[in-house]
């Protein structure tokens, strides 16, 4: 602890100065408290109130939650989240890992490869979604290209197919996020104890075996961190889908975050929108709380073992 009581003879100015750190922190604390606690509770209140087009703070109970779960669009939205979330997290993790392992083979121009794989992370979802929409568009993108090359019957029209459009979101999402996974995995691979690898090599183990048995298990915490962060991205996915498919065709690629926005600002259902937002928060907590507990447990164990 840094603080020390000032001597009793201190002038008033000095005793005030003792609280300078707290005073400096106060505005930020007030703002964050407002943002994290007050605003969140405010949303909960709206969800439990009679609010529809305008806020109406009379208590209504859980009717908006009941409405929400009866709603067909909401069913589609969270089913899409499960499907998209699973494929996106697994896809981006595996691709990121593969790229990291490839780059870790003492390749030439390593910085260049890293720059190429990571740049999508610097670009907004809106830009990403817009460009990929053009690429998936049957009349201007890949389908047209292949047909022009001579394969007249080639079809790649996922983006206009109700049952397949969600996979275009997956492909685009993986494009955007796999570089992020790569960067984290690469940092992890570089931190693996080289003596372990050396010992295995001396024993004559094949490199594929060394990766599976020694290197990958030792970076397990990174796997978990990558997947938790990607899951969090998936749950918050909003602008990517809006730019890529606008939630369509029809409502086939709606996700919860879009539905929240839609209820609040297009349909004037503030209460139900807030209820849907709370479901998004719960989904996040479902991912983050176990992760936080696990991290805390790990830290304690590390400390206990020195």
């Amino acid at each position: 602890m840094q603080y020390a009581p000032s001597p009793p003879s201190a002038r008033p100015r000095r005793s005030l100065a003792r609280f300078l750190p707290q005073a400096v922190l106060a505005p930020s604390l007030a703002a964050t408290f407002l943002y994290v606690v007050v605003f969140a509770l405010w949303s909960v209140w709206i969800a439990l109130s009679n609010s529809t087009l305008l806020p109406d703070y009379s208590y209504a109970g859980f009717i908006h939650f009941a409405e929400l779960w009866r709603n067909h669009r909401w069913t589609i939205a969270y089913t899409n989240l499960f499907l998209f979330g699973t494929l996106y997290v697994i896809g981006a993790t595996l691709l990121g890992l593969l790229l990291a392992i490839l780059i870790d083979q003492r390749v030439r121009a390593e910085a260049l490869w890293r720059t190429i794989f990571l740049y999508p992370l610097a670009i907004s979802f809106v830009v990403t979604g817009t460009v990929w929409r053009w690429i998936f568009n049957p009349t201007s993108g890949v389908q047209q290209l292949v047909r022009d090359l001579g394969w007249a019957g080639f079809t790649f029209d996922w983006i206009v197919r109700r049952d397949l459009a969600i996979y275009t979101v997956v492909i685009t999402g993986i494009w955007q996020a796999s570089g992020f996974a790569m960067a984290l995995f690469l940092a992890g691979l570089r931190a693996v104890d080289p003596d372990l690898v050396k010992a295995a090599q001396i024993d004559g183990a094949r490199m594929s075996r060394i990766y599976l048995r020694i290197i990958l298990p030792s970076i397990r915490p990174i796997f978990i961190a990558v997947m938790v962060i990607l899951l969090q991205f998936a749950i918050k996915t909003f602008d990517l889908v809006l730019a890529l498919t606008s939630g369509g065709p029809g409502i086939s690629t709606t996700v919860p975050a879009i539905y929240v926005y839609d209820l609040m600002f297009q349909r004037g259902q503030l209460g139900e929108g807030a209820a849907a937002a709370i479901m998004v928060l719960l989904a996040l907590l479902l991912v983050l709380v176990p992760y936080g507990v696990w991290i805390g447990w790990q830290r304690r164990r590390e400390r206990a073992h020195g």
Partner: protein, 297 residues
């Protein structure tokens, strides 16, 4: 760093096998690089092609026409988001939003991080936890409260309102980053300065700030990129000519029925992506550092 030769997976293999494997690795990387680079190449090339060329051969084709005129059209006269003054006003809106919000949130984050690492007091760890919770709060949870609050403050549909939101929301992130960095500055340095009679601000100016450039660069890069690219708040709390560029660009992809001016729209998309992309290319090292620190800690 470890002795790299030890880590060479192909050590001991024959020269030919070794060359072949290395070639394979590079070919695989090259194939993946296509997946990442094609979208970028598509917008760059199409921003210089004529509509006739694009209409005839599609977006994914070798250009048979070249003109820089579409860039001027995009900047000055593109019709988007209810106006026909080009993408320029939205670009300036985004700058006007991202620069102050980045600087203010970083300044507060640095001072907060300094207090929470070097001037800890009973309960400060709990306050740190509260502040970091803000990092995870989904935007949807605070949309309605912000809408009502901005209305009361008279900041609806204004860049100032968006600056306020990004400052408050960004505080969590900048405080987390700076605190985790400052915690590694030895306490002895601070203690010695206090014995010499230096106070709170003097220690910050003379000791902590001179050690800060690495973390401040990371924070500024991340804040700027995040705020520039942010969409949900931008589209919810602004409309028409007050929109940041991400909110305006969605109009391009949503205009499903009208005929696309792909060349002009490609240029618009590139302009929307340019500032963060430039920062990434110039400060990539810091970008990656922020990424790994933010994620693992």
């Amino acid at each position: 760093m470890a002795d790299l030769a030890v880590h060479d997976p192909l050590a001991g293999a024959g020269t030919w096998r070794r060359t072949r494997a290395r070639l394979g690795v590079h070919l695989a990387l090259g194939a993946f690089a296509l997946y990442y680079l094609v979208p970028f190449a598509v917008v760059v090339l199409n921003s210089f092609r004529s509509l006739d060329d694009i209409g005839r051969h599609g977006l994914l084709a070798i250009p048979t026409s070249f003109s820089v005129a579409h860039w001027a059209t995009t900047w000055n006269t593109l019709c988007v988001s209810g106006g026909c003054a080009g993408i320029a006003p939205f670009f300036w809106n985004s700058l006007e939003m991202a620069i102050p919000a980045t600087l203010i949130s970083t300044a507060f984050g640095a001072v907060n991080g300094y207090v929470l690492s070097k001037w800890r007091f009973p309960g400060s760890e709990a306050l740190f936890l509260l502040i970091t919770l803000g990092v995870f709060m989904p935007g949807q949870m605070v949309l309605l409260p912000w809408a009502i609050t901005l209305g009361h403050l008279g900041l609806s549909n204004s860049i100032a309102g968006l600056v306020l939101i990004h400052c408050v929301q960004g505080l969590s992130f900048t405080t987390l980053f700076c605190r985790n960095y400052y915690i590694n500055i030895p306490d002895e340095l601070i203690r010695a300065a206090r014995i010499d009679g230096a106070g709170f601000w003097r220690i910050f100016r003379r000791i902590v700030l001179p050690l800060s450039p690495p973390i401040l660069i990371v924070t500024v890069i991340w804040q700027f990129t995040g705020i520039w690219n942010e969409f949900l708040f931008g589209v919810t709390f602004s409309s028409g000519t007050h929109q940041p560029i991400t909110a305006a660009l969605i109009g391009l992809s949503a205009a499903g029925t009208s005929v696309h001016q792909y060349n002009v729209e490609s240029a618009a998309v590139l302009i929307g992506a340019a500032p963060p992309l430039l920062i990434y290319l110039l400060g990539g090292r810091y970008f990656v550092r922020g990424l790994t620190q933010g994620a693992v800690k």
